[in-house]
């Protein structure tokens, strides 16, 4: 009987160290002689630096060094773009420390290193910087006028433009029965993992090796860049993540600090720790989501969608960061969603402003585009007096059309192909689970002083791929024990359990024998990382392949020991059986001992290890439906979520406990992002939301009980396990579904939501503006 760890809700093995307070996060690393860094940041959104005087700071008690960009000298390089390097963006990269100008509140200006964080922060107070304040430009429309240039040498704030042309949108629009144009806006917000960024860099001057703790997400790539910066051989750098307090896209990208802290240790020859505080995090770590979209749609009178035409504007902030143009480009990439829309045209504008740089936040661009599209579809349905579900049904790509090629929707990419799906089936399941038909009668109804609205949003999310491979190495020791070394890292997802499940099933050993090691560049020589819902897709399959290779080897060794054909043998539960027989011929412990001994005579090396890389550049798409039932109080603008459901097809579910956990947790994040959170700037470019009192994250009383339905109807044809990533489906549809539900609730007033967040203040504004318009 085949083992079935895969698909079983196995409790996480990593939990015990976390619930006992024994996790090791960046700030828990303490090394002898360790110094502490603090970073002086710009208080202005836009200013010229006239002078920086660090003399008094350098003389402060306990201070080891205070440095500015000049001290980095020739090695100083900007933080490079890693992806979506659209031509033009390269002019806007961030220097490691501000040079002649500061361009956003929070930009690093100088670094103080001292015996304690308290003393390092004291030293910051003693640094004298003379600024000449300049006018700031914070929104895209103003930035596009180029009256104020964020980067004078570039001559424009329009950093880059990229266009998508699929089919012939102009002709489709010209011949359409119906068209509509709307301007949508998603507000600036970001991931806010509970652990802020943090690093401990230790340059061993004797060995000339640099160990950095606290690096995560992209260990190998980051190591490669930092090795180049410090001009050290790549393999003399050891990047170790330990435990990580959440990622959500923000953490683990290269930021100036990832260069500055290793540099400080390299120069001082002592370990240097830097732990970001929350205020710094809110102003310096990547912001995300701020996208404006001018969207036009063309349809036949019967609701058949003919074309989409979009202008997308991304507020990139002051510098283009590691993700390049990813956020606005990803907004465009899946704007057509699960629908058959043959004509699609999009012009993407990356615009720089005096705000913090933009990067990814869980389902970057896809949260935005799902809101734009699904909101528009509800408006189209109302205009054409077609039920919103029926409108979607008429346009969903049918199972027999899969794989469905949308066309080239990403810069320099191959065509976007929806690889596997049964879109109508997931919709039907969602409607049934939610009792949508039963609830429909309450649509827009006033009950006990509140208007009720029921909304739905369909999403498609690419997972896996992006970077072409991940690797795994499996080693069998006596005991027996199985070590799985993986090339990716973990930011809380539970890979130590999920990867062990995959290995156990493929190898045919008990789960308890397996230990999973991750987050260290020395374990597997090459790798990318954990992002874009690719961990299980890419590395899970690498583990699977390595385990299968190793099993084949073990069976050959067993065949040699037992004098029989390995093809007759199988490995289950850690013992070797003859196929079809229930009696174990040899247990693994014995086999391992004998194999280690036997190889001395044969190949001359222990063979009890295998490495495999799983390679796949093609994206595999998860999909599903979000549903929400809300009640809105008109007087206060408060939106209460009475019921929320995520239905998501992940192809194949390795561990239901973890997959549901991802869906529910992601939905909670999205609900917070949609209803509560916003990074607010004033007209001078001052960030007003620099504490958790101002930037309001959802608490237990803000989040409803979220229902999660996981489907496995469309396994991925692109990998042997058939899996799709499950990290982002829970968040993609949150903005769209809540905006749709709210619009339905207020449909009696003729209100349509076109902008997020749906804070009480904004909902009130929407109602007031409508009332004001009605008066004239």
């Amino acid at each position: 009987m085949a083992q079935t760890y895969i698909g079983t809700p196995i409790k996480r093995r990593e939990d015990v160290r976390f619930v006992t307070g024994r996790g090791t996060y960046a700030d828990d690393v303490k090394l002898p002689g360790m110094l502490h860094a603090a970073i002086l940041r710009s208080p202005y959104a836009h200013a010229r630096i006239r002078s920086i005087d660090t003399a008094a700071a350098a003389a402060s008690p306990g201070v080891a060094w205070v440095f500015t960009l000049r001290d980095i000298g020739e090695a100083a390089m900007p933080v490079p773009m890693r992806m979506y390097k659209i031509a033009g963006l390269e002019r806007y990269l961030q220097p490691l420390l501000a040079q002649n100008k500061v361009r956003y509140v929070g930009e690093p200006v100088a670094v103080a290193v001292a015996e304690s964080r308290y003393l390092a922060e004291d030293a910051l107070d003693a640094i004298e910087v003379e600024y000449e304040e300049l006018p700031a430009v914070i929104d895209v429309a103003a930035a596009l006028r180029d009256d104020v240039l964020v980067h004078e040498e570039a001559g424009t704030n329009l950093a880059a433009v990229h266009e998508i042309h699929i089919g012939d949108a102009a002709t489709a629009f010209a011949g359409a029965d119906y068209t509509r144009r709307e301007v949508f806006r998603v507000h600036r917000h970001t991931g806010n993992p509970m652990e802020t960024r943090g690093l401990v860099a230790h340059f061993d001057a004797g060995k000339r090796e640099l160990t950095v703790y606290g690096m995560t997400k992209l260990l190998h790539y980051n190591r490669q860049v930092i090795a180049g910066f410090l001009r050290l051989p790549e393999h003399k750098l050891h990047f170790i993540e330990n435990d990580v307090g959440g990622g959500f896209g923000i953490r683990g990208e290269l930021y100036p600090e990832d260069f500055l802290i290793p540099f400080a240790s390299f120069r001082l020859g002592a370990p240097v720790k830097w732990i970001e505080d929350r205020r710094e995090h809110l102003m310096a770590a990547n912001h995300s989501r701020e996208i404006t979209c001018e969207l036009e749609i063309a349809a036949r009178r019967d609701g058949t969608l003919l074309a989409l035409r979009a202008k997308i504007y991304g507020n990139m902030g002051a510098y283009v960061r590691t993700h390049g143009g990813l956020v606005p480009c990803s907004t465009a990439a899946l704007l057509t969603g699960p629908y058959r829309i043959r004509n699609y045209e999009c012009r993407i504008h990356c615009v720089v402003t005096n705000k913090t740089g933009m990067g990814t936040y869980r389902a970057p661009g896809r949260y935005e585009s799902c809101f734009f599209r699904e909101r528009m579809l509800d408006m189209v349905a109302a205009d054409l007096t077609i039920d919103p579900v029926e409108l979607r049904r008429r346009n969903l790509i049918q199972p027999e059309e899969i794989p469905y090629e949308i066309g080239v929707t990403r810069p320099g990419g191959s065509p976007t192909v929806l690889d596997s799906a049964n879109f109508p089936s997931a919709l039907n399941r969602a409607l049934k689970e939610f009792d949508y038909e039963g609830l429909k009668s309450r649509q827009g109804r006033l009950e006990n002083g509140r208007y009720h609205g029921i909304g739905l949003a369909y999403f498609v999310k690419n997972t896996g791929g992006l970077e072409p491979y991940e690797g795994a190495r499996i080693v069998i020791g006596e005991g027996p024990s199985v070590a799985v070394y993986i090339s990716i890292n973990v930011l809380g997802q539970g890979h130590e359990t999920a990867m062990a499940q995959i290995c156990a099933d493929a190898l045919g050993v008990p789960l308890e024998w397996i230990s999973v090691f991750h987050g260290n560049t020395d374990l597997v020589p090459f790798g990318w990382g954990t992002f874009a819902s690719r961990g299980t897709v890419m590395c899970g399959n690498a583990v699977h392949l390595a385990a299968l290779k190793l099993k084949e080897k073990l069976l050959r060794l067993a065949g040699e020991q037992l004098n029989c054909d390995p093809a007759q043998l199988e490995l289950q539960g850690g013992a070797v059986y003859r196929k079809g027989s229930a009696a174990a011929l040899l247990d693994m412990e014995e086999l391992v001992v004998r194999a280690r001994e036997a190889v001395r005579q044969s190949v001359g090396r222990p063979e009890l290890e295998e490495t495999a890389y799983f390679n796949c550049s093609q994206l595999t798409h998860s999909y599903g439906v979000h549903l929400a039932h809300v009640a809105v109080e008109v007087e206060t603008g408060t939106v209460e979520i009475l019921r929320y459901m995520v239905v998501e097809d992940v192809g194949r579910c390795i561990n239901p406990l973890l997959v549901h956990g991802q869906a529910v947790g992601a939905a909670a994040q999205g609900i917070g992002g949609t209803l509560l959170e916003e990074l607010v700037y004033d007209e001078n470019g001052q960030l007003l939301t620099t504490t958790f009192r101002d930037y309001v994250l959802p608490a237990s009383t803000d989040v409803p009980r979220i229902e999660s339905v996981v489907l496995e109807e469309a396994p991925s044809p692109l990998n042997p396990l058939g899996v799709k990533g499950a990290g982002e489906g829970g968040i993609v549809g949150t903005g769209a579904v809540l905006a749709n539900a709210l619009s339905h609730a207020l449909s009696g007033m003729g209100l349509q939501v076109t902008a997020l967040p749906l804070s009480p203040e904004n909902v009130r504004k929407l109602i007031r503006n409508r009332a004001a318009r009605a008066m004239f």
């Binding site: 619930v19 307070g21 996790g23 996060y25 806010n192 652990e195 009192r693």
Partner: protein, 161 residues
């Protein structure tokens, strides 16, 4: 700044004496002076609750207190929950309910819930949800944490019988 003061206190049943600067926070004291790094700092301004500890039996934010204020106090941190290698029912419940992912906020939730269950051993779901509303978790969506608190309350109730 450098004048140091004596702090004597009990943490997880063990007595400590240290000379500390007046400005040292209690959280930094626990983490850096006593190496009890299970108490985490998520915001350092009293909102997120990751640094929650028990201070003379009450759940408090250790980032908002100075170490010198803890002179004579009896403190319990997450490291004091498990006894003799046995997980506390709350810890077990967090694992059972998948009430943690990255684990960073978990110590704060455990200490908040521990204090809450001492006062309200048989909470309703709404009470449990309310009790943890001063702690922020970015991973779980809270429902599993509510379930864990309820599971632990049943567990402690049944053990008492």
């Amino acid at each position: 700044m450098s004048a140091k003061r004596l702090v004597q206190l009990t943490v997880n049943g063990k007595s400590y004496e240290r000379f500390v600067e007046a400005r040292l926070t209690l959280a930094d004291f626990l983490r850096n002076e006593l190496d009890l790094t299970g108490t985490h700092l998520g915001c350092e301004h009293g909102v997120c609750g990751a640094c929650t500890i028990l201070f003379n039996g009450n759940a408090v934010r250790s980032c908002l207190l100075l170490a010198v204020q803890a002179n004579g106090a009896d403190i319990m941190t997450v490291e004091g929950l498990a006894r003799n290698g046995e997980l506390h029912p709350l810890q077990r419940a967090f694992q059972d309910q998948h009430a943690l992912q990255c684990g960073f906020c978990t110590p704060g939730f455990l200490m908040t819930a521990f204090a809450f269950l001492k006062e309200f051993p048989h909470p309703t779901e709404d009470q449990a949800r309310e009790a943890i509303s001063g702690n922020i978790c970015r991973c779980t969506g809270y429902q599993p944490i509510v379930e864990a608190v309820l599971q632990a309350s049943e567990k402690t109730a049944s053990e008492r019988k």
